[in-house]
């Protein structure tokens, strides 16, 4: 019973952090929210995987955040193009989007549980929110850091669901490499094209 309550809290945390990443424009808030999101995802993953494998995912996620954070910190404001080039792009629009994601996740959770029994409602709900939020994020941004955040969110959602059906160490390892790779590729793309003399202006 207590475990179920904690799991639902984790789902709530996932919804809140996904909304924060999608709505907030400050990269520090987004990365902080992603770090909290990994804790919630870790809890849901350990419903089906051993604690050690779950913690490997948590540590990988935090390493990715550290890499992205350090890279973003080293860039000056003029090197980062945060302006989205399409409409609608307001905060209200994003709030509506995350509400739609939450509604779709709420609607689909019980149906997926009926098709694939044994996963657990909390696991499915958390996973669907993350996948939905990741997809929505990818749909409304062209900013590099935000694209990487969207992909990481989506992958975390998938990993929660996949952990319930596949417990291979090799898969866990390769998914961790994929996450790390995304972080490194994201960092590389963020610094690519920036002149060395300008790096560190804001530190």
């Amino acid at each position: 019973m207590a475990i179920n309550i904690v799991s639902w809290i984790a789902v709530g945390l996932i919804l809140a952090t996904s909304a924060a990443i999608l709505i907030n424009r400050d990269w520090r808030v987004s990365l902080g929210a992603l770090a909290v999101q990994y804790i919630a995802a870790f809890w849901l993953i350990t419903r089906h995987l051993p604690f050690v494998m779950g913690s490997a995912k948590l540590i990988t996620g935090w390493m990715v955040i550290a890499a992205l954070g350090m890279t973003r910190l080293s860039l000056s404001a003029k090197e980062v193009d945060n302006e989205e080039t399409f409409w609608p792009r307001g905060r209200g629009f994003r709030i509506i989007l995350i509400c739609i994601v939450a509604l779709v996740a709420a609607g689909s959770t019980s149906r997926i549980e009926a098709v694939i029994p044994g996963l657990g409602l909390q696991v499915i709900a958390g996973s669907m929110i993350l996948i939905g939020a990741g997809l929505v994020h990818l749909g409304v941004t062209s900013d590099l850091l935000r694209v990487i955040l969207g992909l990481l969110t989506l992958l975390t959602g998938f990993e929660i669901l996949y952990a319930a059906v596949e417990s291979s160490i090799l898969v866990t390892g390769m998914l961790a490499v994929t996450n790390l790779g995304l972080g490194i590729v994201g960092s590389y793309l963020l610094v690519a094209g920036t002149s060395p003399s300008e790096v560190g202006d804001e530190i």
Partner: protein
Amino acid sequence: MSAPVIWILVPFISGILILLFFSERYSSLAGGSISIILALTALIFPIDTALLLGAISLKISSSVQFFGRSFALTTADGSLLVIIYGLSALWFFGTQASGIANRFVSLGLMIVALLTASIAVEPFLFAALLLEIAAMLVIPLLVLPFQKPGRGVVRFLIYQTLAMPFILFSGWMLAGVEASPGNIGTTTQVGIMLGLGFAFLLGVFPLYNWIPMLMEEASPYATGFLLWALPTFTVIFALGFLDRYTWIRNSPQLSSAIQYAGIFMVVSGGFFASLQRHIGRIMGYAAIVETGLLILAMSLKSLEVVNITFLLLIPRGFVLALWALSLSIIKREAYSLRFSEIQGLARTYPLAVTALILAHLSMTGFPLLAGFPSRIALWQELAGQSLTIAFWMIMGMFGLLIAAVRTLAVFVMAEDGKAWALNESWIQMIMLGVGASGLFILGIFPQILQPLLTNLPALFNHLGQ
């Protein structure tokens, strides 16, 4: 020594060592030589078969355990390894002529090693993860440190990452479908998920918009390598799915869907290629057409599926390498590959222009060139199944032909009295000469591929046997 160590671990570590210790000048030679040695090893030493060399008995074991899962390369994989590393050698030897930095060779070797691992991993579904990791390794090749990343590379990263969850999850669901094939609902869901996964991976219409973008914003040689390597291994992965799951092979709806996806790519790719004014984008659309042909080959209800698919795959690597090399040489001179910038270049870079046009014509299925035998074989099989599809395939090829004629017209539009000159370096001349000769050899004597093609159907237990 085991096969996965030789053909996966060795090239991967070699790639790292080349990155760390080799200068730009020697990396091309080192990478090409390693690839040639690996190809020859695959040709000479059969996997899992004892070979007596005097008093010494030599045997390459087929599998190795890694984190509880096995990586296995069997005797049947030998021909495939010869093709993969033979073509890789061509790409790596060409790097010096194309003027690309040494990390192309090192990252290229690591990418090929990872992609080889994708055909060796058991269960084969995990290949999706290795394809994703390989796709991420391609990014530093596409975006140089001094270059701002464009939209094409971001879309490429997004699409490849989206493909992985779809394929992994549909693979897990396929086990359920096998247990109860009558469940139409689950079968449809799995079919859609699998289709979406491969659509993202292969860049099926309309998800291929990143290809022409990349051809415009990134190095043509690196993009050409990507357009050769990833679809080649994805097609082998897809053939694995067709081979292992009977219901996918036997489902008429899925077969039609694959066929329509293929023909849409061929026709749309040919149509858009004929409208372009940028020779890099034209190559991108030609690669899309080629992928469409591969998908069409996979949709065939014939015993020749595997033979025709590999007959398409081998010249594809050859043609793309030559085309990308020619584009790289031209780009170093013209900076932009727009028609306005390359006008009259046939007089100053005659060999590069000739090689480019030959590669383009080969892609359109011009007689005597490498692409012709595979296209005629595919066309013959398609005509036996649907004349409409066969007609539209020709229309796609016609679009590519229009693009080739337009490109040639722009290249020869030189000012009156402009003198002919040979500005290619000797290494560029050698590589272009070897490539162009290869196109003719493969076109006139396609039977030289027969020894390699003979064993390939054994890779797939149910397809083509």
